[in-house]
Protein backbone atom coordinates (compact mmCIF):
# COMPACT_ATOMS: atom_id res chain seq x y z
CA UNK A 1 0.00 0.00 0.00
CA UNK A 2 1.24 3.48 -0.85
CA UNK A 3 2.17 5.67 2.07
CA UNK A 4 -0.47 8.35 2.50
CA UNK A 5 1.23 11.36 3.98
CA UNK A 6 -1.03 14.43 4.19
CA UNK A 7 1.09 16.29 1.65
CA UNK A 8 0.78 20.06 1.96
CA UNK A 9 -2.11 19.87 4.41
CA UNK A 10 -0.09 21.09 7.41
CA UNK A 11 2.61 23.71 7.82
CA UNK A 12 5.14 25.18 10.17
CA UNK A 13 3.91 28.65 11.12
CA UNK A 14 6.42 29.64 13.78
CA UNK A 15 9.88 28.62 14.90
CA UNK A 16 12.49 29.79 17.34
CA UNK A 17 15.82 28.93 18.85
CA UNK A 18 17.03 30.06 22.25
CA UNK A 19 20.22 29.91 24.28
CA UNK A 20 22.34 28.54 21.45
CA UNK A 21 25.96 28.19 22.50
CA UNK A 22 26.11 28.81 26.22
CA UNK A 23 23.22 29.52 28.55
CA UNK A 24 24.77 29.18 32.00
CA UNK A 25 22.40 28.67 34.89
CA UNK A 26 19.42 27.69 32.74
CA UNK A 27 17.87 24.24 33.04
CA UNK A 28 17.06 22.24 29.91
CA UNK A 29 13.38 22.70 30.69
CA UNK A 30 13.72 26.47 30.97
CA UNK A 31 15.55 26.66 27.64
CA UNK A 32 12.88 24.58 25.88
CA UNK A 33 10.12 26.62 27.54
CA UNK A 34 11.63 29.92 26.40
CA UNK A 35 12.04 28.68 22.81
CA UNK A 36 8.43 27.47 22.91
CA UNK A 37 6.85 30.74 23.96
CA UNK A 38 8.97 32.59 21.39
CA UNK A 39 7.94 30.23 18.57
CA UNK A 40 4.29 30.56 19.57
CA UNK A 41 4.53 34.35 19.81
CA UNK A 42 6.03 34.46 16.31
CA UNK A 43 2.75 32.94 15.09
CA UNK A 44 0.60 35.15 17.33
CA UNK A 45 -0.22 32.21 19.57
CA UNK A 46 0.18 31.43 23.26
CA UNK A 47 0.61 28.18 25.19
CA UNK A 48 -3.11 27.88 25.86
CA UNK A 49 -3.65 27.53 22.09
CA UNK A 50 -1.53 24.36 22.02
CA UNK A 51 -3.41 21.05 22.15
CA UNK A 52 -0.77 18.84 20.55
CA UNK A 53 2.60 18.66 22.30
CA UNK A 54 5.76 16.84 21.21
CA UNK A 55 8.78 17.01 23.49
CA UNK A 56 12.09 15.42 24.34
CA UNK A 57 14.40 16.47 27.15
CA UNK A 58 17.45 14.25 27.61
CA UNK A 59 17.45 14.55 31.39
CA UNK A 60 13.78 13.71 31.93
CA UNK A 61 12.21 10.48 30.64
CA UNK A 62 8.71 11.89 31.23
CA UNK A 63 9.50 15.31 29.80
CA UNK A 64 6.24 15.37 27.83
CA UNK A 65 4.33 15.56 31.09
CA UNK A 66 6.75 18.05 32.60
CA UNK A 67 6.57 20.34 29.60
CA UNK A 68 2.77 20.28 29.50
CA UNK A 69 2.65 21.15 33.18
CA UNK A 70 5.23 23.92 32.77
CA UNK A 71 3.41 25.43 29.79
CA UNK A 72 0.21 25.21 31.83
CA UNK A 73 -1.71 23.26 29.24
CA UNK A 74 -3.72 20.04 29.02
CA UNK A 75 -2.87 18.75 25.53
CA UNK A 76 -5.20 16.18 24.01
CA UNK A 77 -2.33 14.76 21.97
CA UNK A 78 1.02 14.27 23.73
CA UNK A 79 4.05 12.50 22.36
CA UNK A 80 7.39 11.93 24.04
CA UNK A 81 8.84 9.61 21.41
CA UNK A 82 12.63 9.52 21.37
CA UNK A 83 14.62 8.03 18.54
CA UNK A 84 17.70 10.10 19.32
CA UNK A 85 18.52 13.30 17.51
CA UNK A 86 15.97 12.45 14.83
CA UNK A 87 13.07 12.48 17.33
CA UNK A 88 11.79 15.79 16.01
CA UNK A 89 11.38 14.65 12.43
CA UNK A 90 9.24 11.85 13.84
CA UNK A 91 7.35 14.36 15.99
CA UNK A 92 6.64 16.58 12.98
CA UNK A 93 5.48 13.59 10.94
CA UNK A 94 3.13 12.49 13.72
CA UNK A 95 1.98 16.09 14.24
CA UNK A 96 1.09 16.38 10.54
CA UNK A 97 -0.99 13.21 10.75
CA UNK A 98 -2.63 14.24 14.04
CA UNK A 99 -3.47 17.72 12.75
CA UNK A 100 -4.84 16.30 9.52
CA UNK A 101 -6.99 13.81 11.44
CA UNK A 102 -8.37 16.57 13.64
CA UNK A 103 -6.74 15.11 16.73
CA UNK A 104 -5.25 18.52 17.51
CA UNK A 105 -5.36 22.09 16.18
CA UNK A 106 -2.00 23.56 17.17
CA UNK A 107 1.07 21.35 17.57
CA UNK A 108 4.20 22.45 19.40
CA UNK A 109 7.51 20.57 19.07
CA UNK A 110 10.18 21.54 21.59
CA UNK A 111 13.65 20.62 22.76
CA UNK A 112 16.26 22.14 25.05
CA UNK A 113 19.53 21.14 26.66
CA UNK A 114 22.03 22.77 28.98
CA UNK A 115 24.60 20.00 28.47
CA UNK A 116 27.56 22.30 27.78
CA UNK A 117 27.38 24.50 30.85
CA UNK A 118 25.83 21.89 33.16
CA UNK A 119 27.84 18.78 32.23
CA UNK A 120 30.53 19.91 29.80
CA UNK A 121 29.95 16.87 27.64
CA UNK A 122 27.32 14.91 25.80
CA UNK A 123 24.71 13.74 28.27
CA UNK A 124 23.76 10.15 27.50
CA UNK A 125 20.42 8.69 28.41
CA UNK A 126 21.35 5.21 27.15
CA UNK A 127 22.15 2.09 29.11
CA UNK A 128 25.77 0.92 28.79
CA UNK A 129 25.98 -1.97 26.35
CA UNK A 130 27.18 -5.28 27.83
CA UNK A 131 28.48 -6.21 24.35
CA UNK A 132 30.42 -3.04 23.59
CA UNK A 133 31.34 -1.34 26.88
CA UNK A 134 34.16 -3.78 27.76
CA UNK A 135 36.09 -2.56 24.70
CA UNK A 136 35.86 1.06 25.88
CA UNK A 137 34.35 2.58 22.75
CA UNK A 138 34.26 6.36 22.76
CA UNK A 139 30.57 6.55 22.01
CA UNK A 140 29.26 7.97 19.84
CA UNK A 141 32.46 9.20 18.16
CA UNK A 142 34.11 5.80 17.63
CA UNK A 143 30.98 4.35 16.02
CA UNK A 144 30.96 7.08 13.37
CA UNK A 145 34.74 6.71 13.01
CA UNK A 146 34.23 3.03 12.18
CA UNK A 147 31.76 4.04 9.47
CA UNK A 148 34.22 6.62 8.13
CA UNK A 149 37.06 4.08 8.08
CA UNK A 150 34.90 1.62 6.19
CA UNK A 151 33.87 4.30 3.67
CA UNK A 152 37.54 5.16 3.11
CA UNK A 153 38.34 1.49 2.59
CA UNK A 154 35.53 0.79 0.15
CA UNK A 155 35.49 4.03 -1.81
CA UNK A 156 38.86 5.70 -1.30
CA UNK A 157 37.32 8.60 0.60
CA UNK A 158 40.06 10.82 2.05
CA UNK A 159 40.70 12.75 5.23
CA UNK A 160 40.78 15.92 3.10
CA UNK A 161 37.25 15.17 1.92
CA UNK A 162 36.04 14.93 5.52
CA UNK A 163 37.87 18.22 5.97
CA UNK A 164 35.87 19.77 3.14
CA UNK A 165 32.70 19.08 5.14
CA UNK A 166 34.12 20.75 8.25
CA UNK A 167 35.42 23.78 6.34
CA UNK A 168 32.11 24.28 4.48
CA UNK A 169 30.19 24.14 7.76
CA UNK A 170 32.46 26.80 9.25
CA UNK A 171 32.06 29.05 6.22
CA UNK A 172 28.28 28.88 6.59
CA UNK A 173 28.60 29.52 10.33
CA UNK A 174 30.53 32.70 9.60
CA UNK A 175 27.38 34.01 7.90
CA UNK A 176 25.18 33.13 10.87
CA UNK A 177 25.31 35.41 13.93
CA UNK A 178 23.76 32.62 16.03
CA UNK A 179 26.54 30.13 15.29
CA UNK A 180 28.82 29.18 18.17
CA UNK A 181 32.08 28.78 16.23
CA UNK A 182 32.66 31.53 13.68
CA UNK A 183 36.45 31.93 13.59
CA UNK A 184 38.05 30.90 10.29
CA UNK A 185 38.86 27.21 9.78
CA UNK A 186 41.23 26.25 6.97
CA UNK A 187 41.82 22.75 5.66
CA UNK A 188 45.28 23.02 7.20
CA UNK A 189 43.79 23.88 10.62
CA UNK A 190 41.48 20.91 10.20
CA UNK A 191 44.30 18.50 9.36
CA UNK A 192 46.32 19.66 12.39
CA UNK A 193 43.47 19.14 14.86
CA UNK A 194 44.08 16.66 17.67
CA UNK A 195 43.15 13.08 16.72
CA UNK A 196 40.33 11.48 18.71
CA UNK A 197 39.36 8.24 16.97
CA UNK A 198 40.95 7.55 13.58
CA UNK A 199 40.23 8.96 11.06
CA UNK A 200 38.52 11.61 13.19
CA UNK A 201 40.11 14.53 14.94
CA UNK A 202 38.26 17.10 17.04
CA UNK A 203 37.20 19.08 13.97
CA UNK A 204 35.34 16.04 12.61
CA UNK A 205 33.10 16.07 15.67
CA UNK A 206 30.07 18.19 16.40
CA UNK A 207 30.06 20.86 19.04
CA UNK A 208 28.84 20.33 22.57
CA UNK A 209 26.65 23.35 23.25
CA UNK A 210 23.57 24.45 25.11
CA UNK A 211 20.52 25.38 23.12
CA UNK A 212 16.81 25.03 22.54
CA UNK A 213 14.45 25.08 19.61
CA UNK A 214 10.72 25.00 19.05
CA UNK A 215 8.42 24.73 16.07
CA UNK A 216 4.66 25.37 15.79
CA UNK A 217 2.47 23.57 13.27
CA UNK A 218 -1.16 23.99 12.17
CA UNK A 219 -3.30 22.78 9.30
CA UNK A 220 -2.66 24.54 6.00
CA UNK A 221 -6.05 26.29 5.95
CA UNK A 222 -5.05 28.26 9.03
CA UNK A 223 -1.35 28.68 8.26
CA UNK A 224 -1.59 31.81 6.14
CA UNK A 225 -3.46 33.64 8.93
CA UNK A 226 -0.60 33.00 11.35
CA UNK A 227 2.48 33.24 9.18
CA UNK A 228 3.49 35.27 6.14
CA UNK A 229 5.44 32.39 4.56
CA UNK A 230 4.55 29.02 6.09
CA UNK A 231 6.69 25.98 5.36
CA UNK A 232 4.36 23.21 4.24
CA UNK A 233 5.11 19.58 5.08
CA UNK A 234 5.26 17.64 1.84
CA UNK A 235 6.76 14.44 3.26
CA UNK A 236 7.85 12.81 6.51
CA UNK A 237 9.56 9.43 6.69
CA UNK A 238 11.84 7.42 8.94
CA UNK A 239 13.87 4.22 8.92
CA UNK A 240 15.43 2.18 11.72
CA UNK A 241 18.36 -0.11 10.97
CA UNK A 242 19.96 -0.96 14.34
CA UNK A 243 20.86 0.36 17.76
CA UNK A 244 24.58 -0.34 18.25
CA UNK A 245 27.07 0.06 15.46
CA UNK A 246 28.03 -3.65 15.38
CA UNK A 247 24.48 -4.43 14.26
CA UNK A 248 24.43 -1.93 11.38
CA UNK A 249 24.08 -4.12 8.28
CA UNK A 250 26.40 -2.00 6.08
CA UNK A 251 28.33 0.88 7.64
CA UNK A 252 28.34 2.75 4.33
CA UNK A 253 24.55 2.73 3.77
CA UNK A 254 22.14 4.43 6.15
CA UNK A 255 18.38 4.15 6.54
CA UNK A 256 18.05 7.27 4.40
CA UNK A 257 18.53 5.15 1.30
CA UNK A 258 15.06 3.82 2.06
CA UNK A 259 13.49 6.78 3.89
CA UNK A 260 14.68 9.25 1.25
CA UNK A 261 13.04 7.39 -1.60
CA UNK A 262 9.77 7.18 0.29
CA UNK A 263 9.94 10.88 1.12
CA UNK A 264 10.48 11.86 -2.52
CA UNK A 265 7.53 9.66 -3.48
CA UNK A 266 5.30 11.29 -0.85
CA UNK A 267 6.31 14.78 -1.90
CA UNK A 268 6.36 14.08 -5.61
CA UNK A 269 9.77 15.70 -6.02
CA UNK A 270 13.28 14.48 -6.74
CA UNK A 271 16.68 15.29 -5.26
CA UNK A 272 17.61 17.60 -8.11
CA UNK A 273 14.68 19.90 -7.28
CA UNK A 274 15.75 20.45 -3.65
CA UNK A 275 17.13 23.96 -2.98
CA UNK A 276 18.30 23.62 0.62
CA UNK A 277 19.56 20.50 2.41
CA UNK A 278 19.78 20.60 6.20
CA UNK A 279 21.56 17.42 7.30
CA UNK A 280 22.36 16.11 10.76
CA UNK A 281 26.15 16.55 10.71
CA UNK A 282 27.12 15.12 14.06
CA UNK A 283 30.35 14.02 12.35
CA UNK A 284 31.94 14.83 9.00
CA UNK A 285 31.12 11.39 7.58
CA UNK A 286 27.39 12.10 8.02
CA UNK A 287 26.80 14.57 5.17
CA UNK A 288 28.84 12.35 2.85
CA UNK A 289 26.71 9.28 3.64
CA UNK A 290 23.45 11.25 3.66
CA UNK A 291 24.07 13.05 0.34
CA UNK A 292 24.72 9.66 -1.24
CA UNK A 293 21.72 7.97 0.36
CA UNK A 294 19.42 10.89 -0.51
CA UNK A 295 20.46 10.61 -4.15
CA UNK A 296 22.48 13.82 -4.56
CA UNK A 297 25.34 11.65 -5.83
CA UNK A 298 26.03 7.96 -6.33
CA UNK A 299 27.06 5.67 -3.48
CA UNK A 300 30.76 6.07 -2.85
CA UNK A 301 31.00 9.46 -4.56
CA UNK A 302 30.08 11.56 -1.52
CA UNK A 303 33.70 12.38 -0.74
CA UNK A 304 34.37 13.78 -4.20
CA UNK A 305 30.98 15.51 -4.16
CA UNK A 306 31.74 17.69 -1.13
CA UNK A 307 35.12 18.83 -2.47
CA UNK A 308 35.85 22.12 -4.18
CA UNK A 309 33.38 24.11 -2.09
CA UNK A 310 30.35 22.43 -3.65
CA UNK A 311 28.42 22.45 -0.33
CA UNK A 312 29.98 25.69 0.98
CA UNK A 313 28.41 29.16 0.59
CA UNK A 314 28.27 29.96 -3.13
CA UNK A 315 28.56 26.27 -4.05
CA UNK A 316 26.24 24.26 -6.27
CA UNK A 317 24.24 22.78 -3.37
CA UNK A 318 23.34 24.66 -0.16
CA UNK A 319 23.98 22.19 2.68
CA UNK A 320 23.72 23.00 6.40
CA UNK A 321 23.30 26.71 5.89
CA UNK A 322 23.30 27.56 9.61
CA UNK A 323 26.76 26.02 10.11
CA UNK A 324 25.34 22.70 11.23
CA UNK A 325 26.13 20.68 14.30
CA UNK A 326 29.80 21.05 13.41
CA UNK A 327 29.95 24.83 13.77
CA UNK A 328 26.56 26.29 14.78
CA UNK A 329 24.89 24.39 17.61
CA UNK A 330 24.68 20.83 18.90
CA UNK A 331 23.00 20.49 22.28
CA UNK A 332 22.89 16.66 22.39
CA UNK A 333 20.03 16.34 19.93
CA UNK A 334 20.21 18.48 16.81
CA UNK A 335 17.28 17.36 14.63
CA UNK A 336 14.93 20.20 15.52
CA UNK A 337 17.52 22.77 14.49
CA UNK A 338 17.56 21.43 10.92
CA UNK A 339 13.79 22.01 10.81
CA UNK A 340 14.12 25.56 12.17
CA UNK A 341 16.82 26.40 9.62
CA UNK A 342 14.77 24.96 6.74
CA UNK A 343 11.79 27.05 7.88
CA UNK A 344 13.93 30.18 7.99
CA UNK A 345 15.37 29.53 4.55
CA UNK A 346 11.95 28.89 2.99
CA UNK A 347 10.62 32.00 4.72
CA UNK A 348 13.39 34.16 3.31
CA UNK A 349 14.47 35.00 6.86
CA UNK A 350 18.03 33.63 6.83
CA UNK A 351 19.86 36.95 6.52
CA UNK A 352 23.33 36.89 5.04
CA UNK A 353 23.18 33.13 4.47
CA UNK A 354 19.83 33.20 2.65
CA UNK A 355 19.64 30.82 -0.29
CA UNK A 356 18.00 32.73 -3.13
CA UNK A 357 14.50 31.61 -4.13
CA UNK A 358 14.57 28.58 -1.82
CA UNK A 359 11.33 26.69 -2.37
CA UNK A 360 12.08 23.09 -1.38
CA UNK A 361 14.08 22.01 1.64
CA UNK A 362 15.09 18.77 3.32
CA UNK A 363 15.36 18.79 7.12
CA UNK A 364 16.94 15.52 8.17
CA UNK A 365 17.52 13.91 11.53
CA UNK A 366 19.86 11.16 12.67
CA UNK A 367 19.43 9.14 15.85
CA UNK A 368 21.77 6.95 17.84
CA UNK A 369 24.79 5.84 15.83
CA UNK A 370 23.43 6.07 12.27
CA UNK A 371 20.70 3.92 13.82
CA UNK A 372 17.60 5.91 13.01
CA UNK A 373 17.21 8.25 10.05
CA UNK A 374 14.29 10.53 9.36
CA UNK A 375 13.52 13.43 7.12
CA UNK A 376 10.97 16.03 6.25
CA UNK A 377 10.54 17.63 2.87
CA UNK A 378 9.25 21.16 3.33
CA UNK A 379 8.04 23.50 0.63
CA UNK A 380 6.77 27.03 0.12
CA UNK A 381 3.23 27.78 -1.07
CA UNK A 382 4.43 27.58 -4.69
CA UNK A 383 5.23 23.88 -4.26
CA UNK A 384 1.73 22.86 -3.19
Amino acid sequence: MLEKFPRGRTAIVGASTFGCGEAPGCSSLELAHQASVQALAAAGLKPSDVDGLFVVLMDDALSGLTMAETLGIHPRFLDNNRTGGSSFQVHATLAAMALDAGLCEVALIAYGSNQRTAAGKLVSASRPSPWESPYRPLRPISSYALAAARHMHQYGTTKEQFGAVAVAARQWAQLNPEAFMRDPLSLDDYLKARMVADPFGVRDCCLVTDGAAAVVMTRADRAKDLCRRPAYLLAGTQSTTHREIASMPDLTVTGLADAGQRAYAQAGVSAKEIDVVELYDAFTINPILFLEDLGFCAKGEGGAFVEGGRIAPGGALAVNTNGGGLSCVHPGMYGLFTIVEAFRQLGGAAGERQVKDAKLAIAQGNGGELSHEALLILGTEETL
Partner: protein, 118 residues
Protein backbone atom coordinates in the same frame (compact mmCIF):
# COMPACT_ATOMS: atom_id res chain seq x y z
CA UNK B 1 16.66 -19.05 28.97
CA UNK B 2 18.92 -16.30 30.21
CA UNK B 3 21.22 -15.75 27.21
CA UNK B 4 23.15 -12.75 28.49
CA UNK B 5 23.88 -14.38 31.84
CA UNK B 6 24.76 -17.75 30.27
CA UNK B 7 27.07 -16.15 27.69
CA UNK B 8 29.15 -14.49 30.35
CA UNK B 9 29.18 -17.69 32.46
CA UNK B 10 30.58 -19.59 29.47
CA UNK B 11 33.14 -16.85 28.89
CA UNK B 12 34.14 -16.86 32.54
CA UNK B 13 34.78 -20.61 32.16
CA UNK B 14 37.01 -19.97 29.14
CA UNK B 15 34.50 -20.76 26.39
CA UNK B 16 33.55 -18.35 23.57
CA UNK B 17 30.05 -19.52 22.68
CA UNK B 18 27.51 -18.17 20.23
CA UNK B 19 23.95 -19.23 19.52
CA UNK B 20 22.67 -21.29 16.62
CA UNK B 21 19.08 -21.95 15.61
CA UNK B 22 18.35 -25.67 15.17
CA UNK B 23 15.66 -24.95 12.57
CA UNK B 24 17.23 -22.21 10.48
CA UNK B 25 20.89 -23.01 11.08
CA UNK B 26 21.55 -19.29 11.51
CA UNK B 27 24.11 -18.14 14.07
CA UNK B 28 23.30 -15.32 16.46
CA UNK B 29 25.46 -12.81 18.28
CA UNK B 30 24.87 -11.00 20.60
CA UNK B 31 22.98 -13.73 22.46
CA UNK B 32 19.25 -13.25 22.82
CA UNK B 33 16.09 -15.23 23.58
CA UNK B 34 15.01 -15.68 19.96
CA UNK B 35 16.62 -15.48 16.53
CA UNK B 36 16.39 -12.01 15.00
CA UNK B 37 13.78 -11.85 12.26
CA UNK B 38 12.41 -15.39 12.49
CA UNK B 39 11.72 -15.31 16.21
CA UNK B 40 12.88 -18.94 16.41
CA UNK B 41 13.40 -19.90 20.04
CA UNK B 42 15.29 -23.12 19.28
CA UNK B 43 18.66 -21.51 19.93
CA UNK B 44 21.47 -23.63 21.31
CA UNK B 45 24.97 -22.76 22.36
CA UNK B 46 27.75 -23.74 19.97
CA UNK B 47 31.46 -23.04 20.28
CA UNK B 48 32.55 -20.16 18.08
CA UNK B 49 35.38 -21.10 15.74
CA UNK B 50 37.15 -17.93 16.80
CA UNK B 51 38.01 -17.13 13.20
CA UNK B 52 37.07 -13.73 11.92
CA UNK B 53 37.83 -10.85 9.58
CA UNK B 54 38.20 -7.18 10.50
CA UNK B 55 35.19 -5.27 9.06
CA UNK B 56 36.28 -1.86 10.33
CA UNK B 57 38.82 -0.46 12.74
CA UNK B 58 39.72 2.69 14.62
CA UNK B 59 42.23 3.83 17.20
CA UNK B 60 40.95 5.59 20.30
CA UNK B 61 43.60 8.24 20.90
CA UNK B 62 44.67 8.87 24.48
CA UNK B 63 46.80 11.59 25.99
CA UNK B 64 50.33 10.16 26.41
CA UNK B 65 51.59 8.35 28.37
CA UNK B 66 48.21 6.58 28.43
CA UNK B 67 48.40 4.18 25.46
CA UNK B 68 45.97 4.57 22.57
CA UNK B 69 44.02 1.42 21.82
CA UNK B 70 42.29 -0.36 18.99
CA UNK B 71 38.54 -0.74 18.55
CA UNK B 72 37.31 -2.98 15.77
CA UNK B 73 34.27 -4.64 14.31
CA UNK B 74 34.98 -8.27 13.50
CA UNK B 75 32.91 -10.46 11.18
CA UNK B 76 32.91 -13.94 12.69
CA UNK B 77 33.35 -16.87 10.30
CA UNK B 78 29.87 -18.01 11.42
CA UNK B 79 28.31 -14.75 10.14
CA UNK B 80 27.55 -12.36 12.97
CA UNK B 81 29.58 -9.21 13.57
CA UNK B 82 30.85 -8.14 16.98
CA UNK B 83 32.67 -5.24 18.53
CA UNK B 84 36.09 -6.13 19.90
CA UNK B 85 39.69 -5.04 19.66
CA UNK B 86 42.70 -6.47 17.88
CA UNK B 87 45.78 -6.98 20.02
CA UNK B 88 49.34 -8.21 19.45
CA UNK B 89 49.93 -5.56 16.80
CA UNK B 90 50.12 -1.76 16.91
CA UNK B 91 46.55 -0.39 17.15
CA UNK B 92 46.96 1.63 13.96
CA UNK B 93 48.44 -1.36 12.07
CA UNK B 94 45.13 -3.18 12.15
CA UNK B 95 43.57 -3.16 8.68
CA UNK B 96 40.16 -3.84 7.24
CA UNK B 97 40.04 -7.33 5.79
CA UNK B 98 42.72 -8.67 8.14
CA UNK B 99 42.09 -12.29 9.22
CA UNK B 100 41.99 -12.54 13.00
CA UNK B 101 41.65 -15.21 15.68
CA UNK B 102 39.80 -14.88 18.98
CA UNK B 103 41.18 -15.38 22.44
CA UNK B 104 39.70 -14.81 25.85
CA UNK B 105 41.40 -12.45 28.25
CA UNK B 106 40.56 -11.15 31.71
CA UNK B 107 40.38 -7.42 32.21
CA UNK B 108 39.10 -5.57 35.28
CA UNK B 109 37.97 -8.91 36.72
CA UNK B 110 35.83 -9.78 33.67
CA UNK B 111 36.45 -12.20 30.81
CA UNK B 112 36.22 -10.80 27.30
CA UNK B 113 36.89 -11.83 23.72
CA UNK B 114 39.67 -10.02 21.89
CA UNK B 115 41.34 -10.87 18.60
CA UNK B 116 44.87 -11.11 17.26
CA UNK B 117 46.15 -11.47 13.70
CA UNK B 118 45.53 -15.02 12.50
Amino acid sequence: MKPEKEYFEHLQAGRFMIQKSRSSGGCVFYPRVAEPGTGATDLEWVAASGRGTVYSTTVIRQKPPTPSYNLALVDLAEGPRMMSRVEGIAPDAVTIGMPVKARIIREDGHSMVVFEPA
